[in-house]
């Protein structure tokens, strides 16, 4: 059964994956219904589900979810619009890499959340500030990862293209870009996941809407059920967006999978 790298049948894989959710729920139920944890600190699963449904029906939580999704997507698209072209240029042309790489390597260690007070000062507490937090959090990571992907284009493919008459522009357009595209898409998928952590941080401070704002409000009411439900919502949305990304990638790049 535990033979290294031995594949698992599809049915068994789905069963095992679902089983952990069941184990997780059971442990949660045991801890709360069994009285192991005071309900002040952790509400039980049934209450959490009930209050979650109430959030949607009574308190317009759907609007908060929509706002948060919009912020993540908006900030992320802005970051990708800058990072993808810049990363490709850096990966392909070494002087451009030499110019930007040291600064971006430094910039990516600046935590996006530490910019929030500054950004509030500069951009207020509106949407621009939220988008900027996500932008700063994603853009430097994206640039570096994409530049590494493009820079690691197989040398023998580049040489083959040269012997077939390609010029520099042709190498970038017809070899580096198509070759790197599936990995770039995978990188976007990965960093989109990180963008979700930045948006919540941005919404915890100076915000009047969004999932993070709801979680903050619930803390004041000591409603751990709502807080947990909000966090789970993010998990579900993340999982769904991940699956969509994966599905689209496999359709777009059938040769790579």
């Amino acid at each position: 059964m535990f033979e290294p790298l031995k594949p698992v049948p599809r049915d068994a894989r789905i069963f095992l994956g679902a089983a952990f959710f069941v184990v997780f729920l059971a442990a949660w139920a045991l801890a709360t219904f069994g009285g192991l944890i005071d309900e002040l600190f952790l509400k039980d699963p049934v209450y959490t589900l009930k209050i979650g449904i109430e959030l949607f029906t009574e308190y317009g939580f759907l609007k908060d979810v929509g706002v948060t999704v919009w912020r993540v997507v908006g900030g992320f698209v802005l970051a990708a619009a800058v990072a993808v072209p810049l990363g490709i240029l850096m990966g392909a042309f070494k002087p451009i890499e030499a110019f930007f790489e040291p600064f971006i390597s430094f910039a990516r260690y600046m935590p996006a959340s530490a910019f929030i007070p500054l950004l509030i000062l500069w951009a207020g507490v509106g949407e621009a500030q939220k988008l900027l937090v996500i932008f700063i959090g994603s853009v430097f990571q994206l640039v570096l990862m994409i530049s590494v992907i493009v820079g690691s284009t197989r040398r023998d493919l580049v040489e083959a293209a040269y012997t077939l008459g390609a010029d520099s522009g042709g190498i970038v357009r017809r070899v580096m870009l198509p070759g790197a595209a599936p990995q770039i898409a995978e990188t976007l998928r990965l960093v989109l996941g990180w963008a979700w952590t930045y948006v919540i941080v941005a919404e915890l401070v100076g915000s009047s809407s969004g999932i993070g704002h709801m979680i903050m409000d619930s803390q004041r009411l000591l409603d751990t059920g709502q807080m947990i439900f909000g966090i789970f919502c993010i998990g579900v949305i993340g999982l769904v967006s991940d699956l969509i990304f994966k599905w689209v990638n496999q359709r777009l790049y059938p040769w790579a999978f």
Binding site: A160, T163, L164, A181, W255
Partner: protein
């Protein structure tokens, strides 16, 4: 002066972090006539691939010059088609689009080449769906699609199993016999070198140079059964002796 002439070419690779300069290729001359089929045979590490890559324009010259059809070679170009030992098909392109990559040849021309290398029915396959032999046949068709002045082959069948390799040799020879191309073929396999060539250029151990060329007067069309004839064996004995000396030298140098 031949169709391709390599004149006093040598190559050194700079030492990395203070280590000594590596001399990859000793001063070498080679003349190739139009429609000639020359194999370059040598022990591993002798610089035979370096020589081919210089002619392809993928390595800069240390000294000397390379002339193709009277014009000096400085950079890679579609007039010198190349097939590499590693599989270099573009994974995101189908067989047909790979063949059309360089020439952007018409569909008709691509189809003709697909037929010639025996890949009919696989036009729309991606490289990962093909065997090694099929990938190299596609690579050959891709190089031919540009209608290059010379075909450069760098151990193109080196990664294939023996049976596939023998079939590929006959396929390439058949194409050459039918279409007449100038071909430069690098290999370390003595049988392959004799079977394919009009002339075999034998290289010395590192730093290599072409130490002898030997004309192979075997009739065309050639068939695999030729490899067991007495004439073939005589060539093989002679070249084996030359190569053996160089291989021993190469091993001694490694030990030193």
């Amino acid at each position: 002066m031949g169709f391709l002439s390599v004149e006093a070419v040598s190559k050194e690779f700079p030492g990395v972090r203070g280590s000594a300069v590596t001399r990859a290729l000793e001063t070498t001359d080679l003349t190739v006539e139009d429609n000639d089929f020359i194999t370059i045979l040598g022990p591993s590490g002798c610089g035979k691939s370096t020589l081919l890559r210089i002619i392809a324009g993928l390595e800069t010259l240390g000294t000397g010059r390379v002339l193709l059809d009277g014009a000096p070679v400085a950079r890679p170009g579609p007039d010198r088609g190349m097939v590499f030992q590693s599989y270099t098909l573009f994974p995101w392109l189908t067989v047909r689009d790979n063949i059309r990559f360089g020439s952007r040849a018409s569909d008709a021309k691509a189809d003709e080449l697909i037929g010639k290398v025996g890949l009919r029915g696989f036009e729309n396959h991606f490289p990962k769906m093909l065997s090694g032999g099929m990938q190299q046949r596609t690579a050959l068709a891709r190089a031919l699609a540009n209608d290059p002045k010379i075909l450069l082959l760098d151990e193109p069948f080196g990664a294939l199993d023996n049976q596939t390799r023998a079939l590929m040799q006959e396929l390439l020879l058949g194409i050459w016999e039918a279409d007449k191309k100038t071909v430069l073929f690098v290999t370390h396999d003595i049988d392959e070198a004799i079977f394919m060539a009009n002339r075999v250029a034998v290289m010395s151990a590192r730093p290599g140079r072409i130490k002898a060329t030997l004309a192979i007067d075997l009739p065309h069309p050639r068939h695999y059964t030729m490899k067991t004839t007495p004439e073939f064996s005589r060539y093989k004995a002679e070249i084996t002796e030359q190569i053996r000396v160089e291989s021993i030298r190469a091993i001694e140098m490694e030990a030193a």
